[in-house]
Subunit: 312 residues, 2 copies
């Protein structure tokens, strides 16, 4: 096996009460990548379509994640080939649904497979985090974890890295609207408080505990009631035009919850069943139709598998 | 049925990462109470042993909780009898293991039973909270909830009140040491920060999510790793002599975790199996033996039932 084609999924991080720790994996939104062994050692990015992104390995998140894997491998065994990467980008960088995470997770998943799976998923998350470090300055794991593990994941700790795979509600859909505006990372960070009230924090962790419980007992109503963010959403939502209206209309159309995906500008909603997902798609599209802002709406089941092999 | 004798259990609240929301119920530590219907209307406390506590109904937590139930009942039906309460107190007030909660939960559980169970457990928690309001100035639910529901409970929200019953680890013991010092409520509140860093809060809620997951998948190791408190323990532990030593020795003896029970001064530990619980009991007793402070050590399985009927 010298070549593999994979689907690298989009992900939702910072899910309401789970700021910085809770993410989930999407099914019908993602990039494709082809990774092949090459006679030349090292990592080369040979093709990128869909977006303008750097070809230089060290400046590309997929390249950097691949190098992290290669570095670990080289300390363990001597091998005499390299890898070529082709990236067919569908997820827009800066959209808030894990564009860089998809590239980073996808490449290390594929390389691991071509190498006979010497690394665990947790190690793959470690390599992918290096891509995230390049993309956003910090080796965050809350997008790459769901991209690699699938379903809902909880980043219990980052040092040491510990990822928990949570159960998924079987009939759950994510509907996401991506308003095509740019929110600078610096702005979305600047609005975050560095300190928060103990009282609100207590409410937040009660909801996260409750949400984890809801996933275990497959209780959509409790899941819905737990999708509350007292801490981050009140600040970051100001950067997203018509956020409150999208939230209101999504709920009216039957969504279980609504919040900011990652650090925005995408807004996620969760829905039970495809029909409700369709209704919510329409309802939130209507909100943005009335603005001058271009947008995309995506609807997806939760992807319980993570990165998928398309061709071997 | 005119009289009932019950066991009103002690409880541990503020379990590490679950400050203000997570509690559990103990099995072999608690008060006994006898509640009987009386021809005279209203609530009378007719006997208290073990501790000096007020007999005046409105000044006694059991009395106040009973009155809250009676008030609700009177709005719904007209009935022509009252209740007498006997309290056989074993849990020391101010110990941090839910002394007032036991009295409040016990009395309303018993009255509800004598009345043919017109109220749900959630309603009983509401009545008991009025006892807590008298005892500590605030209608906290994190001790009365586990006292009534048993096992581990999460107070998802207080307004509206929503209690979640979590699963329990089957072979789990709580070992508790009660150093007989007085910590004033005002002091234990004063050391609490009103604001906390977002970074630490994030770690805290990751651990609470992880702990709820650990209970569901019966994973003692993950349960242990999740029993961390970044927020409250660093402040309140200063009020408890040799807290750090107790924690250290309990871990050395095999405890899964250790923290402050309620607002102290009691220190709880969790252990897997009776043998480890015995070892931990001995180890933490040794710490206090070297001090001049009198102490009690209790060891108990987790009580999955809550208040228990002793005699009908």
């Amino acid at each position: 096996m010298n070549e593999i084609k994979i689907f690298a999924p989009a992900t939702v991080a910072n899910i309401s009460c789970g700021f910085d720790v809770l993410g989930c994996c999407l099914d019908s939104i993602g990039d494709e990548m082809i990774i092949r062994k090459s006679a030349d050692k090292g990592i080369r990015i040979t093709k990128i379509t869909g977006e303008i992104l750097p070809y230089e390995t060290k400046k590309n998140v997929a390249g950097v994640a691949a190098l992290a894997l290669l570095e670990k491998l080289n300390t363990e065994l001597d091998f005499d080939f390299g890898f070529e990467i082709e990236i067919y980008k569908n997820i827009k960088p800066g959209s808030g649904i894990g564009s860089s995470a998809a590239s980073a997770a996808g490449v290390v998943f594929a390389m691991n497979r071509l190498l006979g799976e010497p690394f665990s998923k947790l190690e793959l998350v470690e390599f992918s985090r290096e891509g995230e470090r390049l993309a956003c300055g910090s080796p965050i794991a809350d997008n790459v974890a769901p991209a690699l593990f699938g379903g809902f994941t909880l980043v219990k700790s980052t040092d040491p890295l510990k990822i928990i795979e949570l159960p998924t509600l079987p009939d759950l859909y994510a509907v996401i609207i991506h308003p095509q505006i740019e929110i600078k990372t610096s702005d979305s960070r600047a609005v975050l408080p560095t300190t928060i009230s103990l009282e609100l924090a207590t409410k937040q962790w009660a909801n996260l505990g409750s949400l984890v419980h809801a996933l275990h007992i497959e209780n959509y109503e409790l899941f819905s009631e737990s999708l509350v963010d007292f801490i981050v959403e009140p600040h970051r939502s100001k950067l997203i035009p018509d956020f409150d209206k999208v939230k209101q209309e999504s709920k009216r159309a039957g969504a279980l919850g609504c919040g900011i995906s990652g650090s925005g500008p995408s807004i996620f909603t969760f829905c039970k069943g495809e029909q409700t997902a369709d209704n919510v798609s329409n309802a939130i599209s209507e909100v943005y139709k009335k603005t001058q802002i271009p947008y995309h709406v995506y609807s997806s089941k939760i992807n319980t598998q993570g990165v998928k092999i398309l061709e071997l």
